[in-house]
């Protein structure tokens, strides 16, 4: 294990970013989000939850897929894919890291999403153990250890030091390039911090959330529960929950006419909360907000696990709990539906 004084962190960031683009939580206009580090930038490593998750780096909110050029009656297709240069994603929390696993199962399964894959392969992920999880966190429910995330490198941080552990070959390569900034040691401090953190996690209000209902109930029984109506009543149909969610993976493919002979086809995040979600030429198979609301949670808790060996597509990051304008969230859904298992 290696360690570096917190006051030397900027040296570390500069050193990494000199070699490869470095993406990490930055504070811009008062909010912490992942962004490209440049010297002098205001970092936000201590913020527990960035507003948007780290998934942007592999699956950005909007991404050009292909361009078309028309010339008279001819159309040429321009492949805009370029080789993605290696980059470092720094400070990913355990929940967000777990979310990559959820996304991988979607994007890397056959047929492989090459846009996602290129970025995923090019990235060295430095995960960051949580020290002070808060009341909206419930990663434990999904078997995540917030005190010991994996990734290519894992870091811990206390008031004095940042501790560094390489986990993979990619991690070693990164470590090598910045090794000169580090000193050896810190195992004990990390261990102590982990114990502290795990103690806090035990006490968190949602840590005892019980998901067994969703594992043991027939899909249609859950689908037909009358409570969905009440649960969704206050939903504004905005996309906040889906856009801050680290595992939401739906996207829409749209076109933009950049000029008279140039069309850009791009994809952008879609939200199952939107009325045009899965809109088809015949119309829409979900016509009410209740149905759309149900879709989101059925997908997270039932459909996705069904297709992926029981893996839930929620990682308990709690962003939706914090950000929903009307304070609706997955915890309320789980408790409302799961609380009446005997029905």
């Amino acid at each position: 294990m290696l360690k570096i004084k917190v006051q030397d962190l900027n040296k570390l960031f500069d050193a990494i970013s000199e070699k490869e683009p470095l993406y990490m939580p930055l504070e811009k206009a008062g909010e912490a989000n992942y962004g490209l580090y440049k010297t002098g930038e205001k970092t936000a490593l201590d913020v527990l939850k960035t507003v948007k998750s780290a998934k942007d780096l592999f699956f950005p909110q909007s991404e050009t897929i292909v361009k078309f050029k028309t010339e008279g009656k001819n159309i040429t297709v321009e492949d805009i894919r370029e080789e993605v240069k290696p980059f470092v994603l720094f400070g990913v929390k355990a929940c967000d890291f777990k979310a990559f696993e959820v996304l991988d199962k979607v994007f890397l399964a056959d047929p492989v999403d090459t846009y996602y894959q290129a970025k995923r392969n090019a990235c060295t992920v430095v995960t960051f153990a949580c020290r002070r999880p808060e009341e909206s966190c419930f990663c434990k429910v999904f078997g995540i250890d917030a005190a010991n995330p994996v990734g290519d490198v894992t870091i811990w941080k206390d008031d004095e030091n940042l501790y560094w552990r390489e986990n993979t070959e990619k991690g070693s390569k990164l470590t090598e390039s910045v090794r000169y900034l580090f000193a050896e040691g810190g195992e004990k401090d990390v261990q102590n911090q982990q114990e502290e953190t795990r103690k806090i996690i035990e006490k968190l209000p949602f840590s005892s959330l019980d998901l067994s209902y969703f594992e043991n109930t027939e899909m249609m029984d859950i689908f037909n529960r009358p409570e969905w109506q009440k649960l969704s009543e206050a939903c504004l149909a905005c996309g906040t929950c889906t856009f801050v969610c680290p595992t939401c993976q739906c996207f829409d493919i749209r076109e933009f006419k950049a000029s008279n002979d140039q069309i850009i086809r791009y994809r952008c995040w879609d939200s199952c909360m939107y009325s045009d979600f899965t809109q088809m030429s015949h119309g829409n198979n979900r016509t009410t907000q209740m149905q759309r609301y149900r879709q989101r949670f059925m997908h997270k808790l039932v459909y996705y696990p069904e297709n992926n060996g029981g893996l839930f597509s929620c990682v308990g990051c709690g962003r939706c709990v914090n950000k929903c304008p009307q304070k609706l969230n997955i915890v309320k859904v789980v408790k409302t539906l799961g609380g009446k298992k005997d029905d």
């Binding site: 028309t70 000029s259 008279n260 119309g283 016509t287």
Partner: protein, 663 residues
Amino acid sequence: MQRIGVFICWCGSNIAATVDVERVSEAIKSEPGVVFSANYQYMCSENGQQLLRNAIKEYHLTGVVVGSCSPRMHEATFRKAAEAEGLNPYMVEIANIREHCSWIHKDREEATEKAIILVRTAIAKVKLNAPLTAGESPVTKRALVIGGGIAGIQAALDIAEAGFEVDIVEKNPTIGGRMAQLDKTFPTLDCAACILTPKMVDCAQSDKIDILTYSEVEDVKGFVGNFKVKIRRKARFVDETKCTGCKICMDNCPSKKGLNEFNMNLNNRPAIYIPFAQAIPNVAVIDPEQCLKLKSGKCGLCQKKCGVGAIDYTMTDKIIEREYGAIVVATGFRPINIDKFNEYGYSENKDVITSLELERLMNAAGPTNGVLLRPSDNTHPKVITFIQCVGSRDLTDCGKPYCSKICCMYTAKHAMLIREKYPDTEVHVFYIDVRCPGKNYDEFYRRACEQYGVDYIKGMVGKVYNQNGKLMVQGSNLIENEQVTIPSDLVVLATAIEPEPSVRKIATLLTASIDTNNFLTEAHPKLKPVESPTAGVYLAGVCQGPKDIPETVSQASACAAKVIGLLVKDSLKTNPCVAQSDESMCNGCSQCANVCAYGAITYIDKEFRLGGGKTETRRVAYVNPAVCQGCGACTVTCPSGAMDLKGFASKQIMSEVEEICRK
């Protein structure tokens, strides 16, 4: 697939000298959708049009762009040519490469480049054009005239003369209006009744005119050519078809306390009355406020005395509904209330009177039988002082900011008549300005000074007070730079006039706009002075702005001409470039109707299928294409974009923008 033909006009050398027309045609050829591109010396010529027509036929064109002079010049020409060949005329767009290009640029390169862009822009628009068809709506061949004063009478007579039926709705028991109250008229001094009453009789005798007195417009629906109007016929308590106007009822009526409105409340009349001798219809009416029978059930004398059994105390208001093709508003005016001008002491002194009251005091049929006696003691006034601009040109709360226009002339008339009839009377006139533009008007005023010795004093009166029975008129004589005080026997105030207040309700019903002074607004102050912005509604007389009798009559006849022009048509072609609301997106917020100057937008409840067998009823906007003028104000007000304008659709304009900005 669109098949667009592009025609570039040389306009002789007007375009071709600065724009390389050959290059433009060539550049346009490769534009997607363009199947034909040519240039020609004079596109507007017979041969040019033939070129266009041939291309439409040969290439089965779905759209045409002509790069030529301004669309304001030849759009109609090319549209007609296209239509002749079976192409919808609204599939033709003009690129203005003359006024907006060749004529203003010197550099050939620059001008040619710009011309190409302008033509491309027109192509982008025409690609989104939709064939439009002018709608037709039938015309009800009957006109409504609201107001039975001289304006309404003249308009009705002229319309009837052309052979159309016309109804006059008058809220008073008789037609005649303000003019009937006047004694003499300027500048000829002929008697008002002598020239007005024959016209009133003509109205009554015309088989085309239906006079609905003692009636008010209650509701107006519909639009130009197709108005549906509800008219309230107030209970007269006298059967119009039976009453002979014999006046026996009047003589026998025991209630004599009703104020005589016709005589400006200067004397009294019975509860059952005919407003004046030449009233049309010459039919009595019962004032329910004064009638003992109606108030207390005790009396019924008139019914007993009536030889033809015309009196019916059980009569109630009736609402009748009629249809009209055009409406003339001629609601007239009234003098403003001058109680608040306490400097003139109108409410304190009986001998301070308004000009209209003086008219009655001088009229042979008036309360004094034409002998000028002052109201307080019925004596001849020896010194009479006139004050002009009372309430006119006055920015305070009491007055009106505008010039009432008629006062200078009628004051001169009054002064002159008094001096003529009572040469021993001293007449003074306080004035700010004497305004007499008009044929023989200034001459008239000068006559008052020169021939009749009326004393005109330049200056305004500051105070009128009673001192020992004399009215002391204290004012400025600005020419002499003196403050003068004139002890007078009678003071006459040239009171400002204002639109009859009922016009407000009528304006609302007709969605005709009203200005800050309650005058109806004309569609254009110079070019459409008798039209209201609401199609099919015309304005005559003072309801539109202060004016005298000759002007009123001219305007009324102008209205009639407009109405006749409308009613001779069997149907009206509507402008197809009108707004239309996409009901599936409209949520009936009513913002669009608020900005529509023409009242073209109404709201209907419409049922929508939601899927799953469910339906939803929603309030949505409906644009009446016959009324909409196509300005587009509503389209911008609509946040959802449900409202769009045909021929100038948002998508079309945006595609033009895109094309212009393309480099």
